[in-house]
Every structure is written in structure tokens, then in C-alpha cells.
């Protein structure tokens, strides 16, 4: 069928089953927006900033497992979107970002709102396209969705000049994707898998090291089954929270810079690391040369480049972790004896008892960790939890009882302040049944505060819980520990009227000083089901502990910090 490039974009989204597009219009993409006006196959959500559009699409993608879609105009529209795209790239989130571009005749002339968008996005996308002929659009858009979702997922950017959106060409979306150069490996090598199982059977202290790849591969059930059958304990990375479920006796909490004593010690003492969909991030490994020093490594990952990048894997297995773990479970039957690891589990139990994750209550102030635990007690499974970036983010990862994958939505790789609120909006849109909570800081929340308007307009209620320490807390913590308490530009004593702020947009706000007030506010916000801001005054100088100082080794944790 003949149609314009702009119509093709709409048709392609329809074919891909897209129900939501987050975006912001402008001159170069107006033809597409004109077609959006005429259709009702999907809802377009007008965020108030392009960065927020991309974060919302990320939240939507993370909670649903589908490809998120964002649309922006050329020039400043696109550059505003870049932070979101980079964020999605670092956390392997499937996205298709469509941007307008100045007409072909003006490309390269420094025209109004022209920027080399594909040049900018090249280093932070899985792939990108500048479409110069409308006839290519069906193929390109189809490839874009395919690339975003398969292999190691990631953002794909499609830049379309304005005249291409007006150009008429043939639209045929039935042709299958044919990419001679792109063939991700999904089945792991059978011999390698067999060897890995032999290594597991021979190990005394094997440890599952679970990464975010398990969640993107929807492999949590398979991993739980494998752990249960073999009796091997597991540590989760920040990105993998919820994989095992908080009530699973085999999970030893999170590891890494702010991981638990037991998790980090287990990693230091193991003789066989079984890395599944994890990439040995420096925030996880600490000092590389000291990481799991006496262990062999089995590394399962869909991305061959992730294997042996930082830590040499004796058993590299390239493949879809869902498939590989299924195979491993089948092979392990009768070969792996859970009894063998009983002494190892005892050791871990000992670590757990020695220094459990915790905090000290203090009369007269609310501890931020308490707030997280409390949300967990009151909402538990019923909430999806997003966060911004900082101390509140780490406390959430440590103290929230995540019971399922896709429950915890946070910016891991890039650590983007301003992520939480728009992402939580996308999460709400993707899962209307559950409460969408954004745990945030008094610094982070102001980075995309304009989304209060979007949230109200589109009835995408998010409960923003501000753990307000009147500081850029995480930076303040480093200044306390490593800069002799020189609090350079981290004091946020100056505060807005939070309640007035949210009310001016049509939401509800609460100032909370006591635990009782917190309970009441959360209950009220859930009942009212509108965008809310619960401003909780928490103790100002609390530190996230344990802590492995950057570049330190996992077994050298700072367990407590006493002010002199």
C-alpha cells in the first residue's frame, strides 16, 4: 500500500502492538504527530521533557518486558533525550526512539534545529539509523524493534528527516527481518554446559552470581528452580533484585559496594562463581585482582563481549540464560548433590549472623531504612518500586523485600538522577493494577519535577516518597568519608514548599515527621490514587553501610561508621 513516511511510522507501531508512545513534538516531526492525531490505536503521552519521555518508556519496558517507544523532534528535542537513551543502553533496556530530523536538503548546513543525531547516539545505542528514503522505513522500523528486543536488548534510534516523513512510498510490513550480519546465539554450547555441571558437582562452595540479564531474559523461574534443585546459594546484583525473592532461603542479599557482609564474604570465599547474566561491574567486584580470588568462573551471557571482559571465565557459555539454565537443570539431575554444600551453607549462615544488614533506630528521627522497610511491610508485593539515584536508591535495594523480577526499577549502569519519577510513570502505565512508588531524594526529585503535570493529566499516579535529608546525601557521604567533611555544594538546606508544589499541579502532598504520620500518609495516598509526594524528614547524616570503598576488596568492608 502507498502511504507517507509519517503514516508508515504509525502503521509500523500498530504492527508491533505498541499501545503507548511517550513523546514531545516539534517542527521536524510534525508530520508524524499529525498522523498520531488521526489514530486511536495507541495512546501518546505528552511528557513535559524529552528526557522524561525516554525514562518513562524505560520504566514501561522494564515492568512489562515489552519494547518501550519514545518520540522526539530534532535538535534540542533529541539532545534532551540522549541521557535517557544512554541510560537504557547501560542497563540493556529495549527501546525504540524515533526522532525527527531537518529535511534532507538542509542536512549538513547547520540548519535551524539541526544536530547530527545519529552521530551523537552512535555510542549509546545498540544500533541507529538515518532514514533517507521512505521506501526503507518499513524495513528499518521492523529491524529496529527486532534489534531492540533480541540478543542483548538495548535502545535503537531511528532518525527521520522531515521530507522523508512526507514522501510517499510502498508500505509492506510482512517481509521478515533478514539481517545477514546479526544472528545472536541463544543456545549455549552443549559441551561447555556439560563441563560446567561437572565443575559444579566437584565444587565445595559454589555460588550463583545473578545479574540483571536474568530479568531481561525472563529467566527468574528457571534460576529459582536450578537453585532449589542443586541447593546452591545465590547473591544478586543491584540489577537482579527480586530474581530469587526475598523469602527464598537460598538468597544471600545483594553484593557489591553496598552489598551485605554475607554476600560479599560468600563471594570472597567461593570456589566456583556461577555468573548468570551478570557483567562483573566494578561496583560489584571491587578490586578485580581480589575478586573471588580462589574461584573458577562459569559465565553465562547472551553477549560474548561480556564474557572474560574483566574476569577470566574458565567456563564461558554464550547463550540465552533462560535456555542455558534450563539445560543446566536437566543435566544436573542426579549429578549434583545438595548435601555436599551443607557446610558451605552453614558458613554463609554464620556470615549472616555475624553482620546482618541493619541500622540503628534513633529516638526522635525517622531512619531512611525504616521507611523502605515500612513500605515493604505495608505494600510488599502490591507495589512496583522505582528509585532515583543516591543513598535512598541503595537503601531501597538493601531493605525492600522484593519478591518478583521487574518489581525493582532503577538506573544501574548510568546512575541517572531524575530517572525515578518519569520511570515510575511509565511503570504505572505498564502495570495499572499495582501501586507505583518512586523512592527519591530531595536532590533527585527536582531533576524531572515537571512530570507532575504529565502524571496528573494522564492519571498515572505515582507516589513519590522523598527521603529528605536536606543533602545530596550520597555525595555528602563520600565527602564525610573521603574529603574530611568538606560539604562542597551538597547542602540542600534551601527547600521548596513540597506540599504546595505538588498541590499546584493537582496532586496531594504530605510532610511527615513521625512514623505514624508516614503510615497515615502512605495509606491516604494509596487510597486517593492520585500523584502524591510524601516528604519524609529523615536523619541528616545517615550513611549507607556496609560500604566497600571504590577500588577496595569485597572482604574489606566498612561495616559501621562512628562520627568522631
Amino acid at each position: 500500500m502507498q502511504m507517507s513516511g509519517a503514516q508508515m511510522v504509525i502503521e509500523a507501531l500498530k504492527h508491533e502492538g505498541v499501545d503507548t508512545v511517550f513523546g514531545y513534538p516539534g517542527g521536524a516531526i510534525m508530520n508524524v504527530y499529525d498522523e498520531i492525531y488521526k489514530q486511536d490505536d495507541f495512546q501518546h503521552i505528552l511528557t513535559r521533557h524529552e528526557q522524561a519521555a525516554v525514562h518513562a518508556a524505560e520504566g514501561y519496558a522494564k515492568v512489562t518486558g515489552k519494547v518501550g517507544v519514545a518520540m522526539v523532534t530534532s535538535g534540542p528535542g533529541f539532545t534532551n533525550a540522549v541521557t535517557g537513551i544512554a541510560d537504557a543502553y547501560m542497563d540493556s533496556i529495549p527501546l525504540v526512539v524515533i526522532s525527527g530530523q531537518v529535511p534532507m536538503s538542509l542536512i549538513g548546513t547547520d540548519a535551524f534545529q539541526e544536530i547530527d543525531s545519529v552521530g551523537i547516539s552512535r555510542s549509546c545505542t545498540k544500533h541507529n539509523y538515518l532514514v533517507t528514503d521512505a521506501a526503507d522505513l518499513p524495513r528499518v522500523l521492523k529491524e529496529a524493534f527486532y534489534l531492540a528486543a533480541t540478543g542483548r536488548p538495548g535502545p535503537v534510534h531511528v532518525d527521520i528527516p522531515k521530507d522523508v516523513t512526507a514522501q510517499i512510498a510502498e508500505f509492506d510490513y510482512s517481509r521478515p527481518v533478514e539481517m545477514e550480519t546479526y544472528k545472536p546465539t541463544t543456545k549455549g554450547n552443549a559441551r561447555q554446559i556439560k563441563k560446567a555441571i561437572e565443575a559444579i558437582a566437584a565444587a565445595k562452595r559454589p555460588l550463583l552470581y545473578l545479574g540483571g540479564g536474568i530479568i531481561s531474559a525472563n529467566a527468574a523461574d528457571e534460576v529459582r528452580a536450578f537453585a532449589k534443585m542443586t541447593g546452591i546459594p545465590a547473591v544478586e546484583t543491584f540489577m537482579a533484585r527480586g530474581t530469587m525473592g526475598a523469602d527464598n532461603p537460598l538468597v544471600i542479599s545483594m553484593l557489591g559496594m553496598h552489598g551485605s557482609y554475607a554476600a560479599n564474604m560468600a563471594m570472597s570465599e567461593t570456589d566456583l562463581v556461577i555468573g548468570l547474566g551478570a557483567r562483573f561491574d566494578d561496583r560489584v567486584t571491587g578490586k578485580l585482582s581480589e575478586f573471588a580470588k580462589n574461584a573458577d568462573v562459569i559465565h553465562v551471557d547472551i553477549d560474548p563481549a561480556s564474557i572474560s571482559k574483566l574476569v577470566n571465565a574458565e567456563y564461558p557459555i554464550v547463550g540465552d540464560v533462560k535456555y542455558v539454565v534450563e539445560e543446566m537443570t536437566t543435566l544436573a539431575k542426579g549429578k549434583v548433590d545438595p548435601e555436599r554444600y551443607a557446610p558451605w551453607l552453614e558458613t554463609i549462615d554464620h556470615f549472616n549472623k555475624l553482620h546482618p544488614l541493619g541500622y540503628e533506630e534513633e529516638a526522635g528521627t525517622i531512619k531512611p531504612q525504616w521507611v523502605i522497610e515500612r513500605i515493604g511491610q505495608l505494600l510488599g508485593e502490591k507495589a512496583n518500586i522505582s528509585t532515583d539515584v543516591g543513598q535512598h536508591q541503595m537503601w531501597t535495594a538493601q531493605f525492600y523485600p522484593f519478591t518478583r523480577p521487574r518489581q525493582f526499577i532503577s538506573s544501574g549502569g548510568l546512575g541517572t538522577m531524575g530517572f525515578g519519577f518519569p520511570a515510575a510513570m511509565g511503570v504505572k502505565r505498564g502495570d495499572m493494577e499495582r501501586v507505583s512508588i518512586n523512592v527519591t531524594g530531595d536532590g533527585s526529585i527536582l531533576m524531572n519535577i515537571q512530570e507532575l503535570m504529565t502524571s496528573v493529566e494522564y492519571k498515572l499516579p505515582v507516589i513519590n516518597v522523598i527521603l529528605n535529608n536536606h543533602f545530596l546525601g550520597m555525595v555528602r557521604q563520600w565527602q564525610t568519608l573521603f574529603y574530611d567533611k568538606r560539604y562542597s555544594e551538597t547542602d540542600l538546606s534551601m527547600q521548596p514548599n513540597w506540599v504546595g508544589l505538588v498541590e499546584s499541579f493537582g496532586g496531594v502532598g504530605y510532610n511527615v515527621e513521625t512514623k505514624e504520620e508516614f503510615d497515615a500518609a502512605l495509606k491516604d495516598a494509596v487510597e486517593k490514587n492520585v500523584v502524591a509526594m510524601i516528604n519524609v524528614s529523615v536523619s541528616r547524616f545517615e550513611n549507607v553501610l556496609p560500604m566497600v570503598p571504590a577500588g577496595g576488596s569485597l572482604f574489606n568492608m566498612m561495616l559501621e561508621y562512628k562520627d568522631k
Binding site: R122, H127, A305, S308, K309
Partner: protein, 157 residues
Amino acid sequence: MMQNERRVVSVILQNEASALSRITDLFSARGYNIESLTVAPIPESKYSRLTIATSGSVRVIEQIIKQLHKLIPVLRVYEHADLVEKEMAMVKFPIGENLSDIETLSKAYNGKIVNVGNDMIIAMVADEPKRVSHYLEAVKRFNPKEIVRSGTVALER
């Protein structure tokens, strides 16, 4: 520290806009070293062949290859073990220099005089990169005015 090694890598990639910059961006973004890079279309195909001479530790080289392979337009990446490698150089000399000496020398390095003008002559050689370096060292005494050197091209034996 692991030993740095020089390696030659061939990449077969689709002829499409910005395919080459994807490669060079990857090298610069990840801090890999490019010693030389040559590229030309493969006749009667929609692919080009790139030859990259690079150096790094074994682990770095392994990453380079994996990361190159990850790029969507890349069809194949070869890390050459046993290869025939050639590079070209052209040198401009003042006309007053000893023409026959230059010619003899160039011949020894698989080359010849390719142009004689009013006030200059140009010689070219095509040889293994190391030998090209030797040649350029040797012709210094003829006061070369300009030197241009290509990247390396390579084929598996």
C-alpha cells in the same frame, strides 16, 4: 602487565552510511589503539573489507574482536595468525638526487620510480610494513621532501 602485541584484524562489514565511523568510534570510545586502517569495497558484493593494525594485551585484542563483532553491520571478523601483509609508501625527492641510486633502492623494496617531473621525482614501494619502515630509513640520505604511507592490507595465507 601483559605484553602488548601488534595484531592485524580484518573486518567484513556492510556498505552503509556511517559503517566506518562505527568502527573508529568503537576504538576511540573504548580506548583501543589503531595503528593503521585501510578500507575498500569488496568487488561484486555489498560488503567492504577493513584491515586494522592494532596493538594491545591478549585480553584487549580479544575484546576488540568481540566488540567489533557486536556491531550490527559487521559480518565477520578475522584475527590473522598467518598472513601476508603489505603496505605502500610514496616518496618525493628533489630532482638533483641520485636517480639511479633511488631506483635501485626502491627496486629492492618491491618498488620503482613512478613519476619524474621538472623539479622532483616520486618513488613508490609496496612491502611488509617493517620493510617499508626500513626503506624510509634508508632513503633519508636522499633528502625526501614528502612521504606518504598507506595502511596495511592483509590476507590469510
